[in-house]
């Protein structure tokens, strides 16, 4: 058997494995996925909102936090991270208007972890809510999330994120992606394998954050690193599928690309930092770390094969065209249109359809109304084009990571 078919079969094996894993987890837990533990205990919560040049969104973010229906919310610490726009002025105004809002400003140190750690030092409550300054927690979010902390050793809880801006085609593609991520994150929750409690909204136990020494300012994705660190220290991470936060997603390709590259660099930094935990430290070493490495490896191999095939095809077509044009024979004949598919083609099509059906199933489960907005074309475009861009971003991330030239902004 040739090398390339073996590689293709390897990809198919991995795809079938993860599809089976998610479907089995869904089958077992489908009736309880949207459940959340009710609690009689009122946890005291402090929200930390780090803000850098967020003059357009920070006011709505703070108002949405104030609007949350949870009685335990004690304080909202808004940390201006040396913004160069009107963010600090807006925060100050809000602090004067609302008693719970405390405004702070500090010099920018080039990492989101710094304002978070700054705010963390001022927290006196048992629970810390970390909320991005362009995200908006749902009214019931804290109430539905805190019950997870009744379970011993839970260090962090997260929820669904919905793009606030989902009018354009590009924003809707991100909405498809966010729904898939939320759904699979919930499924990974059942095997204690949540690998990130993202910035738009995550509740943390203050003790847990103290134990890991706060957020890592060297990491480009402090939320991924904190989650891995919590897993390393034996804390569980939980996902609440019955509530959400809306968040502003990039409207254009360039900021989207930069955001995804940053996520990838953060992932690489985490792999580098925790590489010694391979097949150690519970699910961190047995699933999260291998999963990230597998993603990276498959992406790189896939891209290498893509470039190899593209290059050889271009050279081959160039030579063929050169010969044909000089003699005047037709470049394409009817015979070229009759392709005999290999069994790998059939298997690929079946897997693609299975992936498409899984995506539609996820959109249906998460939000039936949302599915109406996502027509089949969006789903197909997401599966064929959107996901195909990821390995290219990964290459750029690896380049930046190796150069050590990555920066937050």
């Amino acid at each position: 058997m040739e090398f390339l078919p073996i590689v293709y079969l390897g990809y198919m094996f991995v795809s079938i494995y993860f599809l089976s894993l998610f479907l089995l987890l869904y089958k077992k837990n489908r009736k309880i996925m949207f459940n959340y533990p009710e609690t009689k205990k009122i946890y005291e919560i402090t929200a930390i909102v780090p803000a850098y040049n967020e003059e357009d969104t920070v006011e709505d973010t703070i108002k949405s936090i104030l609007n949350v229906d949870y009685p335990g919310l004690k304080e909202i610490i808004v940390v201006d991270d040396g913004s160069t726009d009107n963010t600090w002025k807006i925060i100050q105004g809000l602090a004067k208007k609302y008693e719970k809002v405390k405004a702070y400003t500090k010099e920018n140190e080039g990492s989101k972890a710094c304002p978070l750690n700054f705010g963390l030092k001022k927290v006196k409550t048992e629970i810390v809510a970390v909320i991005d300054a362009d995200s908006y927690p749902a009214v019931d979010s804290f109430r539905k999330m805190v019950g997870f902390f009744d379970e011993p050793n839970v260090g962090a809880v997260t929820c669904i994120f919905i793009p606030r801006n989902n009018k354009t085609f590009f924003e809707r593609l991100q909405a498809v992606e966010y729904n898939i991520i939320a759904f699979t994150r919930k499924l990974l929750d059942y095997v204690d394998a949540i690998y990130v409690t993202p910035g738009p909204l995550a509740l943390y136990k203050k003790d847990a954050l103290d134990k890991i020494g706060g957020f890592d300012k060297k990491n480009m994705t402090e939320d991924i690193e904190a989650t891995w660190h919590l897993a390393y220290e034996g804390f569980h991470r939980r996902m609440c599928l019955s509530t959400s936060a809306t968040t502003t997603v990039p409207k254009k390709i360039k900021p989207w690309y930069k955001q995804r590259r940053r996520w990838n660099i953060g992932g690489l930094q985490c792999i580098s930092k925790y590489k010694k935990c391979f097949f150690k430290k519970g699910m961190l070493g047995f699933f999260i770390l291998p999963f990230f490495i597998l993603q990276l490896t498959l992406g790189l191999i896939g891209l290498s094969i893509f470039f190899y095939l593209m290059t050889t095809r271009i050279i081959s077509n160039f030579l063929y065209t050169k010969y044909s044009v000089s003699v005047g024979t037709p470049l394409i004949t009817m015979n070229d249109f009759f392709i005999t598919p290999s069994f790998l083609n059939y298997l690929g099509v079946i897997l693609f359809i299975a992936g498409g059906l899984f995506t539609i199933l996820v959109l249906y489960i998460i939000n039936k109304d949302l599915l109406k907005k996502h027509n089949l074309f969006n789903v197909l475009f997401y599966l064929i084009v959107y996901l195909a861009v990821y390995p290219f971003i990964m290459i750029s991330a690896i380049y930046n990571f190796l150069r050590g030239g990555a920066s937050w902004r």
Partner: protein, 217 residues
């Protein structure tokens, strides 16, 4: 929640089952295609045997040359079309290796057909041209691949123009078959692909269609 970790093993078992079914179905699909080639081969083998007997009979008795020529041309067209089909099937073949074996058998059959055609041409003073296309089968370089693709199209084009005037015989020349090795040595073929016209003219580069056509007129 801890007991749910068995799901990793369950998923592996499901994957192995699905994957094995996929491989098995793929194996069945490719095998059915090989069977189809085998069927064509057996039919072709019978026809070549029939022709060989006809030619031998012609040597012994005074029989009609035209019928033999016509049948020879028809057989040539048939195995050329089959060669195109086999090429497509080979490109789509991923697991079953026996297709290479079938290819070798076909190469021998085509060589036999070539030899038969030479004898018929001599005996009947026929006007058709034998155009033997010798190509690299195993790991051709990128340049060889492109050239072979071009030669293949060019010969198909010529066949459409000249019809029964030419007998097109594609043979893989690097399959380590003694008879083919002997012939390539005899015709001093040192590079592939090459087009051999009437066992005299070797063409490795085609400048224009007219250059090519002059050997056929």
């Amino acid at each position: 929640m801890g007991n749910q970790k068995w799901v990793f093993l369950k998923a592996l078992i499901v994957t192995l089952i699905v994957f094995d079914i996929g491989i098995y179905l793929g194996y069945m699909l490719e095998n059915s295609r090989v069977d189809e080639i085998n069927k064509w081969y057996l039919e072709a083998e019978m026809e070549i045997l029939d022709q060989t007997i006809q030619k031998d009979a012609l040597d012994l008795m005074d029989l009609d040359c035209r019928t033999l020529e016509e049948e020879n041309i028809m057989f040539g067209d048939k195995i050329f079309k089959e060669a195109l089909e086999i090429d497509k099937i080979e490109k789509a073949s991923r697991i079953v290796e026996s297709i290479n074996f079938q290819h070798k058998r076909y190469d021998l059959l085509r060589t036999l057909f070539w030899m038969n055609s030479i004898r018929i041409k001599e005996k009947c003073k026929s006007e058709f041209h034998t155009v033997v296309y010798l190509y690299q089968y195993n790991e051709p370089s990128l340049e060889q691949k492109s050239k072979q693709r071009f030669f293949s199209k060019l010969l198909q084009e010529l066949k459409e123009i000249y019809g029964n005037k030419i007998l097109l015989i594609p043979i893989a020349a690097d399959n380590d078959l003694a008879s083919i090795n002997l012939l390539t040595k005899k015709f001093e073929i040192n590079e592939l692909p090459v087009i051999l016209i009437d066992e005299k003219t070797k063409i490795t580069d085609v400048e224009s269609l007219e250059d090519f056509e002059k050997y056929l007129n």
